[in-house]
C-alpha cells in the first residue's frame, strides 16, 4: 500500500466508522430483480378433463396415469391425484404427483406415478387434481380400470433397493 493511500485512508476512517456500515448494508441487502417469482395465473372458471385419463405406461415396478385438462390456473404447482384400489367400490389408495403449470399453455398435462403395484392385477381408479395447498380443481373422472404387467418384466430387478 503506498503512503498517499494510507494517509487518505486515515483521514477517512473515523467518518467511515460511524457512517458506512448502515449505508452499505442497505445497499447490499436489496435484490433488484427479486420481484421475479412464479407467476400465479387466474383460477379457471371451470376445470375440465379434455383428454384421458389413460395409462401412459405400466411396467411391473411403475405405472403412470396421464390426463389433460384446460389450464386450471392459480397456484403454479399442482398435484395430479389418483384414487385407486382393486375394488371399484373402495378406492382406498391415493397417489399424488406434482407438476408445474405453464402460465402460457392453454392446457395442462397431469401425470401420476403409482409405484410397485401388484403384478397381473386389475386396478380401478379415478383422477382429480388440486393446488399445492390442497384446494381441489373439481375435475374428477369416472372410475376406470387397468391391469398391471406380469413378473416377466423384472429384468435387472436384482440390483434394486429391495
Amino acid at each position: 500500500m503506498n503512503k498517499t493511500f494510507a494517509r487518505d485512508l486515515n483521514m477517512n476512517t473515523l467518518l467511515l466508522k460511524l457512517a458506512v456500515t448502515a449505508a452499505v448494508t442497505c445497499l447490499l441487502t436489496s435484490n433488484p430483480i427479486g420481484a421475479q417469482v412464479s407467476p400465479t395465473t387466474p383460477r379457471a372458471a371451470r376445470v375440465q378433463i379434455t383428454q384421458g385419463p389413460a395409462i401412459e405406461m405400466t411396467k411391473e415396478f411403475l405405472t403412470i396415469i396421464r390426463w389433460t385438462t384446460n389450464n386450471p390456473g392459480a397456484s403454479p404447482e399442482h398435484y395430479g391425484v389418483v384414487h385407486y384400489g382393486t375394488d371399484p367400490k373402495n378406492l382406498s389408495e391415493t397417489a399424488k404427483s406434482p407438476i408445474r403449470l405453464n402460465p402460457d399453455h392453454a392446457s395442462t398435462v397431469f401425470r401420476v406415478r403409482l409405484d410397485n403395484l401388484k403384478p397381473r392385477t386389475t386396478y380401478y381408479y379415478t383422477v382429480d387434481s388440486e393446488e399445492a395447498n390442497g384446494t381441489e380443481d373439481g375435475a374428477k373422472s369416472a372410475v376406470k380400470q387397468f391391469t398391471t404387467a406380469g413378473e416377466s418384466q423384472r429384468a435387472g430387478r436384482s440390483r434394486a433397493w429391495d
Binding site: M1, F5, A6, L9, N12, T13, L15, L16, K17, L18, A19, V20, T21, A22, A23, V24, C26, L27, L28, T29, N31, P32, I33, G34, Q36, V37, S38, P39, T40, E56, M57, K59, E60, F61, L62, I64, S75, P76, E77, G80, S97, P98, I99, R100, N102, D104, H105, R111, R113, E131, A132, N133, G134, R154, A155, G156, R157, R159, A160, W161
Partner: protein, 604 residues
C-alpha cells in the same frame, strides 16, 4: 450458588477446558503440520479408481489460477479512487460500489481462508466454468471437490453461483403452498438474518468441514486481520471493525480443520470476550455481504449473453437456437420452472413479439423440485465412512445416505443446517428429494479454448450437472427430462439391462421416489429437438455482448476424444466409460429417512 462462587467456578472450568483444549490442540497442530509436510498420508478411504489420477496436480493448477485472479483484484483495488463519504446517511459516493465489489472478489479468491491456506471459495467455482466446478476429471468422477483437508470431499457438485444473489429470502407461500428462495441446493442459506440468502451462502463453505474447513467462524475475522486487503475491508466496513483481541492460540486453532475430534463438537473454540465475539460475528456478516456484492456485480452476473442481446434486438437467434427457444417454452415446458420472462408461447413460424416480463429473466422460479435423478455411486461422499487422522468422519452412513435436499434441511437433518423456522418442519415430507431450481444462465459456459460442454469432434470441457453430477452433458440432461419415464428401469446405476445403454435407453431408478415432478419425463421430443434445446441453452452463456471477466485464466487441458473409435465420444454417452456398478444399497439411514416428520411414503 452465590454469584461470586458461580463466576469463580465458571472461570476455573473455563481455564480447565482451555487447558485441555490447548493440550489437545497442540497434538492436533503437530499432526496437522505433519500432514502438511506429507509425513502422514492423505485421508484416502476410497476404493481404487474413485479419485481421479490427476487430482493433486489439478488442485494445484486451480490454486495457481485462483492466485492469478486474486492478484488482478489487488491491482484493481490499488487503482481504485477512494470513495467520498457524503450525505445523511453517510454514503460511499462514486466508487463505493466498486470498493465493496472488489473487496468481495478479493475475499472469494483468497486461499488463506482455509486452515491449510490451500483453498479459496473459488477453488470450486471458477469463472470459466460459469462459477461452477473447475476440474474436468473431478466433474467426470467424484463430482464434489476436495476441501482444505485432503481428501475430505463434499457431497454435491459445486452449484454455479452466478445470479445466485437474485434469489429472495426463503419463504413459504401459504397461498401457493410452496417454498421460494434461499441459496444452496437444499435452500439452507435462508437469508434469515442478513436478509440475503447469497450472503449467508457465502458463510457456509468457510466452516464446512469438507470445504474450506475453519473450526470457528471467527477464524475468518482473524485471517482478515493479516490480509493484504485489510485496509479495504476497514474502508468499507469501518475502521476498528477488525480490532478484535484474539487469544494467542488463535492461529493454532484456525490451522486445524473443523470436525477434528480435539474440538469435541465445540463450534466456537476461539475464546473471545462477548464483545469480541460480537465483532467477529459482525465481520463474518460483512464477509458474506461483500462476497454477495461481487457475485451480484457485472463481474459475475452481467446479463451479457446472446439471449440478452436477442431481447435487446441486437442479435438474431439462429434457426436451431430459435427452434430451441420455442421448444423451451412449448413442447419441452422448460419455462414452467426456468422462467424466461417472456409473455408468449411461440408457435412454429411465429415471431417473438412479446414484451419481457422483466428486463433480465433469470431462468429460475426460485422454487425446488425432485426430478428423480438416479443415485450416483461415483460420488466420493459415500466412501467417507472411516475417520481421518483428525478423527473426523464425513459420512458414517456410507451408501445408507440419501440426499433428501430441502426435506432434510426442514428437519435440520444430517449434512444440512438448522432450520430457523419450526413452522416449516411439518412440510418436510412434501419436499423430500427436492433440490433448488438453479438458473439456467451460464449452464454451458466453458473456457475459451474448450468451446463446448459436449463430447465429440471438438475439444470440450467436462462439467457435471444437477446436484450429484450424474449428467455429464447438456444433451443427457435434456434427454433425461424427455425420456426419464419412457426408459425407466428398476435398477441402480451401472446395472442397466443388456441391450440398453445407460443414459440413452435406460434410466436407473430415482434416488428419492417421493415428490417426483411429473411435468417432464415423457415429453415426446425428437433427437433433433433435444439438440435444439441444447443450442438454446448455449445462448444463455455470458460474454457475448462484452468479455466475461477472468474467463481467460484456465490453464488446464481440454478433453478430447475420437468419435470414430470411441463409442462414448458423443454427448449422449459422454462419461459412460466412467460408470461403475452401484453396490447393493443398504436401507436409508434412520437418522435421515426416519427423522420426524416421517417421509411419506417411507423411503427404502
Amino acid at each position: 450458588m452465590k454469584p461470586t462462587k458461580s463466576i469463580s467456578t465458571v472461570t476455573i472450568c473455563a481455564a480447565g477446558i482451555a487447558a485441555v483444549l490447548s493440550s489437545s490442540c497442540t497434538s492436533a497442530v503437530q499432526r496437522n503440520k505433519e500432514d502438511k509436510k506429507g509425513m502422514t498420508s492423505a485421508y484416502n478411504p476410497y476404493p481404487p479408481g474413485i479419485l481421479p489420477g490427476d487430482l493433486n496436480s489439478e488442485v494445484e493448477r486451480v490454486l495457481r489460477e485462483v492466485d492469478l485472479v486474486e492478484n488482478r483484484a489487488l491491482e484493481r483495488w490499488h487503482a481504485l479512487a477512494l470513495p467520498i463519504v457524503r450525505g445523511q446517511p453517510p454514503t460511499l459516493q462514486n466508487t463505493g460500489t466498486e470498493a465493496i465489489e472488489t473487496l468481495g472478489e478479493l475475499m472469494n479468491f483468497d486461499r488463506n481462508m482455509s486452515p491449510n491456506r490451500n483453498q479459496a471459495c473459488m477453488s470450486c467455482h471458477m469463472p470459466y466454468a460459469g462459477f461452477g466446478g473447475p476440474i474436468p476429471s473431478v466433474n467426470l468422477t467424484i463430482i464434489a471437490y476436495p476441501g482444505t483437508a485432503h481428501f475430505r470431499v463434499g457431497k454435491r457438485t459445486p452449484q454455479r453461483h452466478a445470479y445466485a444473489p437474485f434469489f429472495p429470502v426463503l419463504q413459504y407461500n401459504q397461498t401457493q403452498g410452496l417454498f421460494f428462495g434461499g441459496n444452496f441446493y437444499d435452500s439452507r442459506a435462508t437469508g434469515v438474518l442478513l436478509r440475503n440468502p447469497d450472503a449467508e451462502q457465502a458463510q457456509g463453505p468457510p466452516v464446512d468441514t469438507q470445504e474450506m474447513g475453519f473450526p470457528d467462524t471467527a477464524c475468518v475475522a482473524f485471517r482478515l486481520t493479516t490480509a493484504a486487503y485489510r485496509p479495504l475491508f476497514e474502508l468499507v466496513w469501518g475502521a476498528g471493525s477488525l480490532d478484535i483481541k484474539f487469544p494467542r492460540n488463535t492461529e493454532a486453532i484456525c490451522d486445524i480443520p473443523g470436525g477434528a475430534s480435539t474440538f469435541r463438537g465445540n463450534t466456537t473454540p476461539i475464546d473471545l470476550t462477548p464483545q469480541d465475539r460480537t465483532k467477529a460475528n459482525a465481520a463474518y456478516g460483512h464477509w458474506g455481504q461483500s462476497i454477495d456484492s461481487y457475485e451480484q456485480s457485472v463481474q459475475v452476473s452481467p446479463f451479457s449473453s446472446k439471449f440478452d442481446a436477442f431481447l435487446a434486438g441486437k442479435y438474431k437467434l439462429t434457426a436451431d437456437e430459435m427452434a430451441g427457444f420455442e421448444l423451451f417454452n412449448g413442447k419441452g415446458n422448460c419455462n414452467s420452472c426456468h422462467l424466461d420472462g417472456r409473455g408468449t408461447t411461440l408457435k412454429p413460424n411465429q415471431n417473438d413479439t412479446g414484451s419481457a416480463a422483466t428486463v433480465n429473466p433469470l431462468f429460475t422460479c426460485f422454487g425446488s423440485s425432485n426430478e428423480g435423478v438416479p443415485l450416483n455411486p461415483r460420488n466420493a461422499f459415500y466412501y467417507e465412512t472411516t475417520p481421518d487422522s483428525l478423527g473426523f468422519v464425513g459420512n458414517p452412513y456410507g451408501f445408507g445416505y440419501r440426499d433428501l435436499g430441502l426435506g432434510t434441511f426442514l428437519r435440520s437433518g444430517f449434512g444440512s443446517a438448522p432450520n430457523p423456522n419450526s413452522n416449516w418442519t411439518q412440510s418436510a415430507p412434501s419436499v423430500d428429494g427436492q433440490m433448488q431450481v438453479s438458473s439456467a444462465r451460464d449452464v454451458a459456459m466453458t473456457p475459451p479454448q474448450c468451446p463446448t460442454t459436449e463430447a465429440g469432434a471438438r475439444p470440450y470441457f467436462q462439467k457435471g450437472f444437477f446436484h450429484n453430477g450424474y449428467f455429464k452433458s447438456l444433451k443427457q440432461l435434456v434427454h433425461f427430462y424427455n425420456t426419464r419415464d419412457k426408459f425407466a428401469f428398476p435398477v441402480t446405476s451401472g446395472h442397466c439391462p443388456p441391450g440398453t445403454i445407460e443414459k440413452v435407453t435406460c434410466w436407473p431408478m430415482p434416488e428419492v421416489k417421493n415428490n417426483i415432478d411429473m411435468t417432464s419425463g415423457n415429453l415426446g421430443l425428437s433427437d433433433k429437438e433435444e439438440d435444439q434445446i441444447v443450442a438454446f441453452l448455449e445462448t444463455l452463456t455470458d460474454g457475448f455482448t462484452r468479455p466475461y471477466p477472468n474467463i481467460d485464466v484456465f490453464t488446464g487441458t481440454c478433453m478430447t476424444c475420437n468419435p470414430v473409435t470411441d463409442p462414448n465420444c458423443s454427448p449422449s454417452r459422454q462419461g459412460n466409460g466412467s460408470l461403475i456398478p452401484t453396490p447393493p444399497l443398504p436401507s436409508c439411514a434412520s437418522v435421515i429417512c426416519s427423522a420426524p416428520p416421517a417421509t411419506s411414503p417411507p423411503i427404502p
